[in-house]
Amino acid sequence: MARSIKKGSVVVAIGTKKGGFLFHSPDRKKWSVAGPFMEGGSVYHMTLDPRDGRTVYASAPMGSEPWGPAIYRGLAGEEPKATRAAPKFKEGSDLSVSRIWHIEAGPSKAPDTIYAGVEPAALFRSDDRGDTWHDLDALNYHPTRKEWQPGGGGLCLHSVLVDPRNPRHLIVGISAVGAFETRDGGRSWTTENRGVRAEFLPNKYPDWGQCVHKLAWDASGDGSIFQQNHCGTYHRGPDGGAWTEVTKGLPSDFGFPIAAHPTQKHTAFVAPLVGAGNRVFPKGQMAVWKTTNSGKAWRRLTKGLPGPGAYLGVLREGMAVDEADPIGVYVGTNTGQLFASRDEGESWKMISDFLPPIFSVTAGIAQ
């Protein structure tokens, strides 16, 4: 840990179009910033490993030039270095990794395990902190793959949920293919999209082909999940099965991020935009919406957020929560502002402006 980041500080890792930044604060009132790291490179995702509170992982092109995607690793506050290898498909597959969208820490009992979701959509696992990678065949070469269609951002695997109760249970989200679930560590996968709309297909409720935008565990701890989709917001209960649409009460059925409260069950935050054709906040007012009952009702939170006249948006990785008490909520915009709330979304403060467009926001506690 670099000396500049004090143990116990909240660390908000920001991936931007031109480098990564670490905002850190012991009290969440006064913030300091470290970076830019991977300067000049498009940092699609950057995260502090919650298992040690020290290691930062990031995904960006190698050397910010056209040398292909890379995973970077380092201690928080120091310049991360590219790991020995990046995820790659098997030779002969005729597939090649063009971008790494998401890095997810593995189970707490496997501290060297991380997952990477990539474009074209695939999931890879490393058991040595990113130096070598395993191709999860059953998903990556799924029989339906030849018919997979990209979303507006590409054919990307962007959400990886690792069940804290059972590390062999994972759920992933692919745009625009849908959610897939494994309960045997990736040997077999099921499509998990019942009840989710796909308004852009002739069959509005197909087995797969939905445009999932982001998934998040419900803090209930029973396996319940929230989903923000291209076509609505959803919640799935503890026993799996069909999703329940919970869009009612929100200003639109379109948005990208969804962040669940880490300890308060059935509680989540979303940031709805006007729609697919106009990806800005409705009526020029930036707003975060919160539910405390699995989406049965939503409350609009705007105190301290810009508007009217604020025509900006938030990308799929653009919102995160910390685990302090009360929790902090962080939103990064595609116009380079970082907003923070240290009272669970009730009020907000801009903690940075004039950053490059923000691709990702994650939050953790430095150890």
Binding site: P66, F89, D94
Partner: protein, 86 residues
Amino acid sequence: MRIPPALRSYTDGQDEVVLEASDVAAMLRALDVNFPGIRDRVVDEAGRRRPYVNVFVNEELIGASLPESKLNPGDVVHILPSVAGG
């Protein structure tokens, strides 16, 4: 083979490596034996040259597929990012 600055982390800082190979593809494989991982930066897992990465033999830009790009003793292979400007 001349190594661009962005890839010298693989070659312990060396800017030039002398290799024996009959074509450019074989040279990249030989380079990777000595410096694991570097080949993946020039070609993808399907063996295609990455977009905006140029390979020159002496001063000639290689347009053909890499295995067809034969080498002679003393040739200098350059790997360079294209200008990608506009």
